[in-house]
Amino acid sequence: MKSILREFVWIGVIGVVISLGLNTVSPRGLRLSEDYFPRSSPPPTQPAPPATSTAPSSQGATTLPEPAEDEGFKYVREQGLQPISHAEVKALYEDPAYPSGAYVFVDARTRDLYLAGHIPGAYHMERERAKESVESLRPALDQAIKIIVYCNGGNCEDSTFAAIQMQRENVNAMVIYVYPGGMDQWKDRDLPVEKGERGSGDLVKGRTLLGEPHG
């Protein structure tokens, strides 16, 4: 029995050493000191003003938050971030200034989900490589009047984490908004979804993708 325990210990120790070594050389490896699930610091004391007050008007768009958004809005505010309603996100997407880069959409989901379908024109942010990802998006982020970050919607937290990571990389916090409805709500409203890389032009109706797996 003693010999098995001895073997158990040395296999464990060697295994951990090898594991950490392989993680270091792996291109997808994690950084041990990185905070991948950041919280706002200091904790928010005042809820941010609702984004609807500054929304550009759009035809047929309602400015009232929908009941399903209440929980998501509350959560985003608790993180010290600004939520944005579906109506406003849609208005920004349809605004003539969108293609010029005045409004930037950032998809904080996994790359596989992004490629499976994202809001047309949205950039992808790799949360596990936040610093590099933000740097590569910096030109677009710096000229944006509004940055809308989203993930799947519902209970997903990637959009709030991504927004905080952006703030930590010195992106102007005043222009960052989190869309709590996320991709689920976007697809549910049957809005266009772009498949593949940004600008692929491969657009499909959102509802055709409903029910696809989540990350």
């Binding site: 001895r6 951990v16 090898i18 950490l20 993680n23 041990l32 905070d35 699930f37 596990e128």
Partner: protein, 182 residues
């Protein structure tokens, strides 16, 4: 007096049960570990869903996310090769017990908070196998625990690289395959 070994011992001496247990368990751990190691960030997010490890300090979750998948591959490879099998089996058994407790606690939490029937509960457990029904996952894990015990208590060293590297007589247990049953 009949000194012949019992049926189970004779079966063990063939080395076949050990070989099957090693290949199944080793294969499962190498495969699942590889899935996790190819997407360690996603794996870490799954681990976080269990609320058993704090987000901060970040080092705890990061260590699990970066080391556990490779550790599974390491143990699985040792089993397949037949090297240091008993230590590896004990390590795998320890992991399996931890995983089983974690998924059961999470399922019970869903059971009590959402009021679902236990066997209707399913989620992506972060095991490398995607979404799993809890009533299928727990028996699967228990089955793998039994395979670990088979390896742990087997006295055979047949079909193992260990027997080549450390010839009979040099082992801690000193047990080698018995001659064929007369």
């Amino acid at each position: 007096m009949d000194n012949r070994p019992g049926l189970l011992r004779r079966l063990d001496q063939t080395g076949v049960p050990l070989l099957i247990a090693r290949l199944i368990l080793g294969g499962v751990f190498v495969y699942n570990g590889a899935v996790k190691a190819s997407h360690p960030f996603d794996f870490m997010k799954m681990v976080r869903e269990y609320h058993m490890v704090p987000d901060h300090p970040a080092i705890f979750l990061n260590l699990i996310g970066s080391a556990l998948p490779w550790l599974e591959i390491w143990c699985g490879l040792l089993l397949i090769l037949g090297l240091a099998m008993r230590g590896s089996a004990l390590l795998i058994l320890t992991m399996l017990v931890g995983f089983t407790i974690a998924v059961t606690v999470r399922a019970l939490n869903i059971y009590f908070t959402e009021g679902k029937a236990f066997c209707e509960i399913y989620f992506d457990c972060g095991c490398g196998t995607g979404i799993e029904w809890i009533c299928g996952k727990i028996p699967k894990n228990l089955g793998m625990c039994i395979l670990s015990l088979v390896i742990l208590f087997s006295r055979s060293r047949r079909f193992c690289l260990d027997a080549v590297i450390r010839p009979p007589g040099a082992t801690d247990s000193g047990v080698e395959v018995a001659p064929a049953v007369r």
